[in-house]
């Protein structure tokens, strides 16, 4: 092991021999751009790269400029890498957020052949031609080039990283959580708030995006009260873990804050290791909290000066974190450029970590006296009233040029300071993203040059840096109070205060608000948004071109539209817009904060709803029989249904033809368990049905069945089905398979909301009954032997129902027909369904009873002109479908009032008709449009469309149902069924939609 450690150390020239919160006993090997490197457990990929001296990690999005590591967490705009390979590869992963693990493999993005030498950098030669919104102004001519040249080129150039092309092999899942108090962020404020809330007896969930708690404390060397940071953290964690009602989630980020205090959390369960069996890689939590404490910290801002994107330019807080947490020197010689106090602490820590700190350039004219004195003792030169004008060096920082502020570029007074690390601190922006996602406003605070949280809209409060408080002592006190208040409110329902926490004196954060160097010489680019390559010139151009709102500037320039969502640059952009317009940043405000706070994998969003769980599948009670019988199962809505029972060597269409013919010739049996079924009880049931259906039900006698039609409120047909009166106040309703759930919802709504005065009880029983249709001229013959009651026409006429027993099982028997032939529907308690099905098959063997599937069912109903949701498509009225006789004149029903609207009574409405192939052979293409004649000039007038098509087993020719303008008066005409998709134009004769037994003798027989 010691040999391994020494090897790892030797390969990490920027790693200090001691210090940091890393496990030096666990060396880790990983690769970056194919090169083997070493790190330690506890490292991030970014810290390990820095330890190994890797400074260029990729190229920028637009100009292909070399970029290095800029931040240390979610705010990172530059260090995006392609993680892993094959099906598990993940593009745009922030190196600063990736925990180092054994075997990690990452590659740089947006460069070829390497980040150091990238041919794509040629784009920078055309930079003057590529200002913000260039694609709106160029590539317009010649038009022919747009589709074949410009668009492919732009699409190829756009985007970062490569999405995997193989299916994701990992598991993801969702999970819900509930608590009294959710604390987001486990830094000093979050830990204190969580502990206080738990002490009040609240159920607490504490989350943090890191693997270990501490937040910004992990970047500090100082003390918390009288304790070292590590001792304080250890004590707090032990304190928290003692509460049985407190759940700590690590590697978990709150990505969205929604109504009713619901938050979405992304937990990276096994991104840093292989998942255990059954364990998901990531878990998306939906948490409902009575109160929320946001201790989300703050993001340090950048500053605007020439070439402020060069590798080696880094946030001061990030450099400090790398030094203190990871024992890494991010540079050998550092210069700091700041507009606030916090960079002085970074300078001290970098010096302590072994970097030579040449100077702290403070653009403020007046600096608290203690700060320069303090660093001078460490040999660091304090330079106040000066600013960085430019960074020298292309692939790395070689030196910085600084100038005194008052010269404003006119003076020749300048200095160059050699360095390889420039730490910048443009002040701190509270991470108020979640707060703002609730709809709460952000308010500009000039004392810290940032937007701070306004009045909360939900049961939440912000503490610590998230509230704009940067004083640790005060933060701890306020966080504890916030935790206690939140717990008490959650438990006792006290009112949420509606004003944000007061902000402290901003110790450590006082700034002059200046975010740009006064010495902008125009020689180099000055970036506001590093990830999107948005410069101050882009923002100025947008304003010159008339964009005033920050929302519009954002969309024109792409400011803040990268995967980092502008965490380090947005405030700079808002201030620049305000400056260009000559108003206060408070006037312009911020862009809208939207979820997610960080990028989320599609897998996490999908959870388990992928693969076989993409859609819940329903199976009928006879499902296993169908499968055993070799049925071709097909998904119909959420049901698995037999399409046809294909025999060996038989084509699917031949099987359907054989099955349908068997029904017409003798008898068939089909599983119709998928129909919706409802039981309706009560003295008000008949009146309820009167209002629901277009036709009347008060006269329906017990033991009889009636076909019913429901309309939507707008007069269009909603659904059809049967209603059977089983008792004085007891009805049995069937609906179509497609609309079963919606019909149930509607009827419950009517019962509970519209007509609560009616004495009605509704019970959904779709799964209670297996439903079997036995159809064909020999069906009675089969039923007579199967059932213990008289099924002759005299005893059980068409549209009658009765109770009986089949094979000892009580069944409901209905003399109804969807096939148009003599038929019965038998409803059997579901657990006995397969048994009765088999019995019917056995008893029907002499008649060669034939099981038939969906295709045959469809062919039979098309022959009979029965409609399904191919025709009840939401745009057809009862009159359109030839069902106008079912609209009762007396009494009201849903949709009646809409029927007289002008649009629903026009003569040229599309009406249901039949179509027969003119030559008797050519199939009529499904979905084809109906036109008057071939060869018409564009645009061709569309007369209608084919809705259902089949080969008629009775007529032995292709037939179809269609909706045709003024169709009923066109019967006898010939039109063209045109299907450009298949390149087909089939002449068809317009007929009655009823091809089979128009007098109804067969079904009444």
């Amino acid at each position: 092991m010691s040999a391994q450690i020494s090897v790892a150390q030797a390969a990490q020239p920027f790693r200090n021999p001691t210090g940091g919160i890393i496990d030096r006993s666990r060396p880790i090997r990983f690769t970056f751009d194919g090169k083997g490197l070493g790190g330690y457990a506890g490292d991030s990929l970014a810290s390990a790269l820095l330890a190994n001296g890797v400074r260029i990690v990729g190229r920028s999005f637009k100009y292909h400029r070399p970029r290095g590591i800029f931040g240390a967490g979610t705010e990172e705009p530059n260090a995006l890498v392609q993680l892993g390979s094959g099906a598990r590869t993940l593009p745009n992963s922030k190196a600063t957020e990736i925990e180092l693990y054994e075997g990690l493999s990452a590659t740089s993005q947006n460069c070829w052949p390497s980040p150091a030498f990238d041919l794509g950098a040629a784009a920078s030669f055309f930079a003057p031609l590529l200002p913000a919104g260039f694609y709106y102004k160029t590539f317009k001519w010649p038009p022919a080039f747009w589709e074949k040249l410009y668009e492919p080129l732009i699409r190829r150039a756009a985007g970062l990283g490569r999405a995997p092309t193989e299916p994701d092999p990992d598991r993801y899942e969702h999970r819900s959580g509930h608590c009294d108090v959710l604390v987001v962020g486990a830094g000093a404020a979050g830990l204190s708030a969580a502990a206080a809330a738990a002490e009040e007896g609240a159920r607490v969930i504490l989350i943090d995006e890191g693997a270990s708690p501490g937040g910004l404390l992990l970047a500090r060397r100082g003390k918390v009260g009288d304790e070292t940071v590590s001792d304080w953290l250890a004590r707090m964690v032990a304190r928290l873990d003692a509460f049985s009602d407190l759940r700590r989630l690590v590697r978990t980020t709150a990505i969205g804050y929604y109504d009713h205090n619901q938050l979405a959390l992304l937990e990276k369960v096994a991104d840093h290791r292989a998942p255990q069996p059954g364990e998901p890689r990531q878990r998306l939590w939906h948490v409902w909290a009575r109160r929320v404490v946001l201790a989300t910290g703050a993001h340090e801002r950048s500053l605007i000066f020439d070439n402020n994107d060069r590798p080696g330019v880094m946030l001061a807080s990030a450099a400090r974190l790398y030094a203190n947490r990871y024992a890494v020197r991010p540079g050998s010689t550092a210069v700091l450029f700041t507009n606030n106090d916090s960079a002085y602490e970074a300078a001290r820590d970098l010096a302590a970590a072994g970097s030579r700190v040449a100077a702290v350039i403070d653009c403020r004219e007046s600096v608290p006296a203690a700060l320069p004195t303090d660093i001078e003792r460490l040999g660091i030169e304090p330079i106040a009233g000066w600013s960085v004008a430019s960074v020298m060096g292309k692939h790395s920082v070689r030196a910085v040029e600084i100038r005194p502020n008052e010269s404003k570029g006119r003076s020749t007074l300048r200095r160059e300071i050699a360095c390889d690390l420039l730490c910048v601190s443009g002040g701190w922006s509270p991470a108020l993203h979640l707060h703002a996602q609730t709809g709460a406003r952000a308010v500009f605070d000039p004392s810290i040059g940032a937007f701070v949280p306004g009045a909360p809209r939900q049961g939440e409060r912000l503490v610590g840096a998230a509230a704009g408080n940067f004083d640790l002592k005060q933060t701890l006190a306020e966080a504890e109070a916030a935790g206690r208040e939140a717990a008490r409110e959650a438990k006792h329902g006290a009112a949420q205060r509606t004003v944000p926490a007061s902000r402290s004196s901003q110790a450590g954060s006082s700034t002059n608000g200046a975010l740009r160097s006064p010495h902008l010489q125009g020689r180099g680019k000055r970036f506001i948004d590093l990830q999107e390559d948005v410069t101050d010139k882009d923002v100025a151009l947008a304003v010159r071109e008339g964009y005033r709102s920050v929302e519009h500037v954002k969309r024109y320039t792409t400011l803040g539209m990268g995967t980092d969502q502008g965490k380090t640059g947005n405030t700079l952009g808002f201030v620049e817009v305000a400056r260009a317009l000559g108003h206060d940043p408070a006037t312009g405000g911020t862009t809208t904060f939207r979820p997610p706070y960080v990028p989320v994998t599609l897998g996490a969003l999908a959870g388990m709803h992928g693969g076989r769980h993409f859609l819940p599948i329903r199976r009928t009670p006879m499902h296993d029989w169908h499968v055993r019988a070799g049925a071709e199962m097909v998904q119909s809505g959420s049901w698995l249904r037999p399409q046809a029972y294909r025999r060996r060597g038989e084509r699917l269409e031949d099987a359907a033809w054989r099955e349908a013919s068997a029904v017409r010739r003798s008898v068939g049996i089909v599983d119709v368990s998928t129909l919706g079924k409802l039981e309706l009880f009560g003295s008000g049931a008949a009146e309820f049905l009167q209002r629901i259906y277009t036709n009347g039900f008060t006269s329906l006698p017990v033991g009889r069945v009636r076909y019913g039609l429901m309309l939507r409120e707008d007069g269009m047909v909603f659904d059809d089905g049967t209603v059977s009166r089983l008792g004085e106040h007891h009805y049995f309703i069937t609906t179509t398979t497609a609309q079963a759930a919606l019909v149930r919802q509607r009827l419950e709504h009517c019962r509970q909301v519209l007509w609560p005065d009616l004495d009605v009880e509704l019970v959904a029983v779709a799964d209670q009954w297996a439903a079997i249709a036995v159809a064909g001229p020999a069906s009675r013959e089969v039923l007579e032997r199967a059932v213990d009651i008289d099924v002759k026409d005299s005893a059980l006429p068409f549209m009658a129902c009765a109770l009986g027993r089949i094979s000892g099982v009580s069944v409901r028997l209905f003399r109804i027909s969807f096939s148009g032939d003599l038929a019965y529907e038998i409803y059997v308690p579901a657990r006995r369904g397969a048994e009765v099905w088999q019995h019917l098959l056995d008893i029907g063997a002499p008649q060669e009873i034939t099981p038939y599937g969906l295709d045959a069912l469809n062919a039979l109903r098309i022959e009979k002109g029965h409609v399904t949701h191919a025709e009840i498509n939401g745009r057809t009225t009862a009159e359109d479908l030839g069902l106008g006789r079912m609209l009762k004149q007396k009494g009201d029903f849903i949709g009646k009032r809409s029927l007289h609207r002008q649009g629903l009574t026009r003569k040229d409405r599309w009406q249901l008709v039949g179509l027969a192939s003119a030559d008797g052979r050519t199939p009529i293409p499904s979905g084809a449009k109906l036109i008057a004649r071939t060869g018409e000039a564009m645009p061709v007038p569309i007369l209608g469309e084919v809705t259902s098509t089949t080969m008629s087993p009775t007529l032995e020719r292709p037939i179809a149902l269609a909706l045709l303008a003024d169709g009923r008066s066109r019967i006898g005409e010939t039109v063209i069924a045109s299907s450009p998709l298949f390149g087909l134009e089939v002449p068809v004769s317009v007929t009655s939609p009823v091809f089979f037994d128009p007098e109804g003798k067969r079904l009444r027989g």
Binding site: G103, R273, G682, C801, V809
Partner: protein, 198 residues
């Protein structure tokens, strides 16, 4: 990437079963006929919505305002009545009642990870202080319409789902439970596992 040691212990138990009968009761008429029904369930009164009353192999669940499920785990010895054709509903003198026992399958979940497993599919707050022993709720689970019942002693949860969805839910539960050491296919019992024990 090194794989960490697998969970050695199974912390979840799953079983699929169909209760012998579920009687959906609505709008009960107060009086001796209802008292008789309640007596057969050894219950003094119908529970309020969201609560249940449980005795040996029998439960009454208040599934909503004016609606209850009367569940019998043991076969009553006769085939349930399948309708009331030509018989006035008023003859059901204790109220509107209909057997829906064939419509629902039941999954019984127990073990220390039962709550964690349920949290993967349910949005309900199942903390015992909120969803106490004997609580029940009609709610979605894994995007399915379900009824969840916590047993009176808190030892297990019964998750009822529509029979047509049962196979789908079985597959879902098996996959979700793998994290808790569940590997075997879910047992499909006729009678509930602990009916006799109760």
């Amino acid at each position: 990437v090194a794989r960490e040691p697998a969970l050695q212990t199974q912390t979840i138990s799953l079983r699929r079963e169909m209760p012998a009968r579920i009687l959906h009761l609505a709008r009960p008429n107060l009086g001796p006929p209802l008292d008789e029904v309640l007596a057969s369930f050894q219950a003094a009164e119908l529970p309020v919505p969201g609560r249940s009353s449980t005795m040996v192999a029998r439960s009454i669940l208040g599934i909503g305002h004016g609606r209850w499920w009367l569940i019998e785990d043991e076969a009553p010895g006769e085939e349930p009545s399948q309708g009331h054709l030509s018989r006035p509903t008023s003859s059901l003198s204790f109220g509107i009642a209909i057997d829906i026992g064939d419509a629902w399958d039941r999954f019984r979940l127990s073990g220390e990870s039962a709550l964690d497993l349920l949290a993967k599919g349910s949005r309900l707050d199942l903390d015992p202080r909120v969803f106490a022993n004997g609580a029940c709720a009609l709610s979605s689970f894994a995007e399915l319409r379900t009824l969840l019942h916590r047993s009176s002693d808190g030892a297990h949860f019964d998750l009822y789902c529509g029979r047509s969805y049962a196979q789908t839910l079985e597959e879902w539960l098996g996959e979700a439970a793998a994290e808790f050491g569940w590997e075997a296919p879910i047992d499909k019992g006729g009678a509930p596992a602990n009916a006799a024990a109760q």
